[in-house]
Every structure is written in structure tokens, then in C-alpha cells.
Subunit: 394 residues, 2 copies
């Protein structure tokens, strides 16, 4: 068994962040960043979030350790995400708020398994990503981080930045739910309201200052490192699904779960990778359209506001996983989301509408019946109570 | 080692709920209910929630199993509360939403350990209690349950009743936070708005119908059975505190944590029981007043609305634990709660004001310094975002 730690080289290096030199410890020589489009490599301590040649997103590449059993690679003194610290970068002194180790609950009547990602510090799966991303920011030694988000990722970034004692500035579209904006603010982050989700993305990058790091989750490869631990948890609990169905906006959860199962396969612990299915709302379905051709976009549909990204940077990667695993992509409309959400609440599952999209897709997809299906419940419904009131009370 | 299961006697019995006979399986012969005031015993399948002689609350009494190691008593195939099913009644076919197994996060700068009880199905510690209480309701076979609550317990009861396919009717004071009332409704429960917390308690009991069970958490001994598992989790994670500080209204968490550590002690796994400290808001401090004499009650203080119970049924039990463990009871005022809450948010801990009461008390209690202190973070701040906005934005 080759220990990751054995090959780590400790040295002091300097990295440039917007013309300012920042000292950092480079203990992560086995991890590097790669543009899969043009095969250009970047060191792990770069502050770049995209390839400077082809403008595509970067991916984390690592040499996987070998072991007879997966549990030999885990840290049994840890209960959550950092149980897998040997497989995650920046894990020596991580920024943690107790994330990971979420339960899997079987809905026996439906034959589906829910992974309850809202059992988490800020109530959504984004905490897994923010934990790794902010651990990186702390390790690099930046003074501030910048994120753009319609809510959940912004809250996660703000909370983990607070824990790491790093300033945070979050760009949000002005129609993001008020409770989400308030919590970002309460964590001490600066909230910048923008006219649209797109403007939030653009301004976040354009207004980056010296000694700040852009950790936008739609680009940041370290978010995917956090998400992959959810797959490890499934495996360790003895549950390996035939099919995984996730909502897809930027695709971090989708790609992270895939990466987790893929690594388990590559390390020899798993024979087969589940089929991956993506779900998008009819109002914004770029992955669906790339796979199946254009659809008529429903204007004004805002129920799945967590998954409204017009042009996800990792769209090609998502499509590749769909093809490789013989999966597919579905769309669901607002009526289907509402029905699914009501169903879930009536079973005590208090989630946001985005979570209901996957349940809606599962209910109508006949080819998923009689399979072991995993669907992550991405976020708590408590943050979206204003929408719930319209659905249930009126 | 005497197995609990070995002494369980299976038989069909009939119990009376408001004049209606309901069939139930009585597999829990080693558990009984006891009025500690007048020593009167009740069978576990009674629908009574108080002693019919002295009107005091009932307590669950059980014969504890023997084992060399605690982990011999756990079900390793389970991850949460039902890992301890051998020590909990009604655990054969429990109503579960994935509760329990919450993380403990150390705040190193403060030397305090937070148990994050908001990593849970409905975002508060009440889920532990509701899981056992509703498992009991399902086991008895009632058609409906009734609860009175200012919010968290009502949401928990509604969600678990939904999961168990049992009707729920929740009596709430009209000043309970709107998001909490909305979620209760969304889970399919009937919400009955009352003029005050006291009226909610009175009407809940007075309006009980045939074939309904009163599961009011301020009285229900099965809530305490759920809470005690948080102490087991501490022990299993290798963390036994010197001191436990909890907010106290009806005292279920306080008494439950105490019961858990006491049972570990009685089973021979723990030499010493932590000292127990209670915290109440200055606006409503009946336990403090019973211990230290009357204080001037601050009118209009509503920050700690989760811990406003004028006359908790188990007040004498709480006082007894304070004395037995050489603990104490503190009060905190609104300014202290606000400061503590801001501190917690600035560390990424997104909790409700009730959770901040214990952190406020910890900060000002000099005799808790240099000890291993456990403070449970009782509920998510996302439910109380309306209050947060007033504190942080204005």
C-alpha cells in the first residue's frame, strides 16, 4: 500500500494572486489541476479557476492510493467528510462545520433510497463542497473569497469563510429567496445584489480584488472533491445503487457522486459504476437540450431556482457521464415538482423544490422501476418556506 | 449478559383509548411507566400522560441489560438513534426519518464542544423525541396524535406523524414564528392557533378525541427516551464532558441527556456523571426562580421563544438533577443572547436564538472555564430568519 502522505513533499512556495505574493505550504504534490480539453497542467496552488488557453474548467487529478480494503484508507477517528482525508486535498487542517455522514432513508413504498443532504451545517449539499474549497482558501492564505450563487452555495461559502476567518463577498441575483440572502449577511459576508444570475457570475469575477480567491462553485474543482465523499459514504454503508438521479445546474453533485463511485471502481473496491441520470426544470434545461434537442422554455418558472444555470461550464463533462454510464437526462415541469414536493412533505421529508425535481423524475421514469435508485435530497425546505406557503396554504 | 429480547413476552392485549378498544402487540414487558411522586405503576401501553392520582408526569422505567462493552448493546447496521434500539421501547418497527448521529464540533478558541442537533430531519433536537413518541403511537395503533408547541416540537410531531401515516393536530400560540406554522401545515397536520402558549396546552388536552393520543412533549416520557441517545453518541465517540449546559423549558433535552449518562453509569461503562447546568431566558425562568428565588421578569422578551414555559411539569426532576450533579441554573438576557448569536454566526454556526442562550451562559460562567463543556445546539437558525433579520440587518 502506497501512502499518500509518503509522497507528499513539504516546501514553502510562493504563488501569485492578482500580483500579490502569498506564502503557502505546498504539501500536496500528488494533486494537480488539469484542463481535460487541452491537457494543460496547473499546480494545485494556482488561483486560476479556468484554463488560460481554452477557457474550460479545470479538474483535480490525483494518484489514487492502493489498499486491500477501503476502510484502510479512512480515518476512523472522524465521522464526516474528513473521514476520507487521505483522498481529499487540503485535509491537514481543514475548515469544518461537521459536514458529511448524512443518512440514507429508504422509502419502502416507492423502492427508492433518499440520501438526506440537508442534515448539514447550512442545510444543503453545498456544505461538502464549501468545506474543501474553503480549506483550500485557508491553506493558500487568502484574505477574501468571492462566490456567485442563487442561495445555497452562497450560504455555504459564507458560513465556511466565517469559520475560517476569511472575508466573503457573495454575488446573488436579486430574486434569490430573502431568507437565503439574510443568512449570508448574518454570517458576516458582504452581499452584492445583481439584476440576474448571469450578472452575478460576471461581476463576481470582474470585481475580484488583490488577495481574493474566486471559489465560484460552478467552476471550482474542489467542490467536486467534497461531493465525491457522498459516494464513499454510500459504499461504506453497504449501499451501492444501480442508478443515481440528481438535479443538475452546474453539476457539482452529479459529477462529484460520479467521481466518488469512479474512484472506488478504479481502486478496485467496486465492480460497476451506477447509471447516472440528470434532472432539470423545463424553464432552464441546457443539458437536456444538448442531449435531446431544443425544447420550449417555460417562462416564469421559478420553482427550481436552485438549478437555473443557462450555460453550465461543465456541461460537456455532464454529457460524457450520461453517455458513459448509459444514463439519461429528464425535464420536469412545475406541476410535477409541486406534486412531488407535496408527496415528500406528506412523508415527513421537508425539502426545497429542487429536491422534489428528482423525485418527480423518478416517479415518471418507468425504466427506473425495480432498480436500486439513489436520489439525493439536496436542501432543506425551511429556506424556501415562502414558496411552500404559496403551494400549500393558498 | 441478559438480553432484553429474551425477557420480552409477546401477547395480544387490548388497551383503552378514550373508551375505544385498540388492539396492540405488547412486546415491551420490561418497560413500564412509573409516577415517581406516588410510586404508582402504569403499563407501557397506557394512553395516560400523567398520574391519575397525583397529576404528576410519568417516567419510563426499565431493566437495563448487562454487557462487557457498550458496543455489544448497539446495532451496528444502524447509524442513528436506532443504533440503540435495545435500550429504547417500540424499536421493532420504528418511525424514522434518519434522526440522530449528530456531529460534535470543538470550538477550539473557546474550549467548548457543540453537539449540532440541527443536523436532523426537521432541524431541531425534538426529532429524537418525536421519533420514539410516534413509534409508540404507531405501535399502539392510534388514528391521530395531538401536540402543543411553540414550533420545533410541533414540526417534529407533524413530520413523524406524516411518516407514520397518522393524523396530527398541533396547537400553537398565534405568536409562534410563521415559518414554523407553515411547515407543520405542509406536513399535512391541522394547525390550531391559540391566544397563548398556555391556552395551546389546555386546549390540546381538552379537545382530545376518541382514538387520539396526546404526545405533548412537556409531559411525554418517550421524548426523554429519544433525547438520551445523544448522551450515548457522546460516549461512543469517545467524548464524555465534565459539564453539560442546556437550555431548559420543559426540560426534555436536559433530562434526556442526564438519563443517557446515568444509564451508562448504571450499566458500568462510565464512572462519573457530568455536572448539569440549565439555562433560561430572563423573561421566563421558573427553574431559576425555584432554585435561587424570584427575579424581575422582563416583559416582551421573545428571543428565547423556544424556552418559554411558565410551569414545566418536570420542574422538580430538573431541580433534582441540578442538585445531584452539583450543577446550577443561569439566566441570560436578550442582549447576551444577541451577542452570543452574532458570535455563533460569525463562526458559521447557524442556529436559533434558543441555542445562543447556552453559549451566552457559557461565556459568562467563569466556573465552567478549563472544563470539558458540552453544549447542544438545539435548532437551526433558518426557521427563525425573521428574527435574525431584525438583529443583523437593521
Amino acid at each position: 500500500m502506497i501512502s499518500l502522505e509518503e509522497v507528499l513533499v513539504k516546501k514553502i512556495s510562493k504563488i501569485s494572486i492578482k500580483n500579490q505574493e502569498v506564502a503557502c505550504r505546498d504539501r500536496h504534490m500528488t494533486f494537480r489541476l488539469l484542463c481535460k480539453e487541452c491537457n494543460k497542467n496547473y499546480p494545485i496552488n494556482t488561483s486560476q479557476w479556468k484554463c488560460d488557453s481554452c477557457r474550460r474548467p479545470l479538474n483535480l487529478v490525483t494518484e489514487l492510493p492502493r489498499a486491500d480494503r477501503f476502510d484502510q484508507l479512512t480515518d476512523k477517528s472522524e465521522r464526516g467528510l474528513w473521514r476520507y482525508k487521505r483522498l481529499i486535498p487540503f485535509s491537514e487542517d481543514p475548515v469544518t462545520l461537521g459536514e458529511g455522514n448524512t443518512p440514507i432513508v429508504e422509502m419502502k413504498s416507492e423502492g427508492v433510497f433518499l440520501k438526506l443532504e440537508y442534515f448539514s451545517p447550512t442545510g444543503s449539499f453545498k456544505d461538502r463542497g464549501a468545506a474543501v474549497s474553503l480549506s483550500r482558501a485557508k491553506w493558500i492564505g487568502v484574505k477574501g473569497i468571492v462566490e456567485d450563487s442563487s442561495g445555497n452555495a452562497g450560504i455555504a461559502a459564507a458560513a465556511y469563510a466565517a469559520k475560517a476567518n476569511i472575508r466573503a463577498r457573495i454575488y446573488v441575483p436579486k430574486d434569490a429567496p430573502l431568507p437565503k440572502r439574510l443568512i449570508i449577511h448574518a454570517c458576516g459576508a458582504d452581499v452584492v445584489e445583481c439584476d440576474s444570475r448571469k450578472e452575478a457570475s460576471t461581476r463576481a469575477v470582474n470585481e475580484l480584488k488583490e488577495n481574493e480567491l474566486y471559489v465560484g462553485h460552478t467552476w471550482d474543482p474542489f467542490y467536486i472533491e467534497g461531493m465525491k465523499t457522498a459516494a464513499y459514504e454510500c459504499f461504506e454503508s453497504g449501499f451501492v445503487p444501480d442508478v443515481v438521479v440528481t438535479p443538475v445546474a452546474s453539476g457539482t453533485l452529479f459529477l462529484g457522486l460520479y467521481k466518488g463511485f469512479l474512484e472506488l471502481n478504479e481502486m478496485g473496491f467496486l465492480d460497476k459504476i451506477p447509471a447516472f441520470y440528470a434532472v432539470q426544470g423545463e424553464g432552464c434545461a441546457p443539458v437536456y437540450e444538448a442531449a435531446h434537442g431544443p425544447i420550449q422554455r417555460i417562462k416564469g418558472s421559478s420553482l427550481a431556482d436552485g438549478i437555473r444555470i443557462d450555460d453550465p461550464p461543465r456541461k460537456d463533462e455532464i454529457l460524457k457521464v450520461l453517455r458513459k454510464t448509459s444514463g439519461d437526462v429528464f425535464t420536469v415541469n412545475d406541476d410535477e415538482i409541486i406534486d412531488a414536493l407535496k408527496d415528500l412533505y406528506k412523508k415527513g421529508i421537508i425539502v426545497e423544490p429542487t429536491s422534489a425535481t428528482v423525485y418527480a423524475a423518478f416517479k415518471k421514469a418507468n425504466d427506473l422501476k425495480n432498480k436500486r435508485v439513489l436520489i439525493p435530497m439536496t436542501g432543506t425546505g425551511i429556506k424556501t418556506v415562502d414558496k411552500i406557503s404559496k403551494l400549500f396554504i393558498l
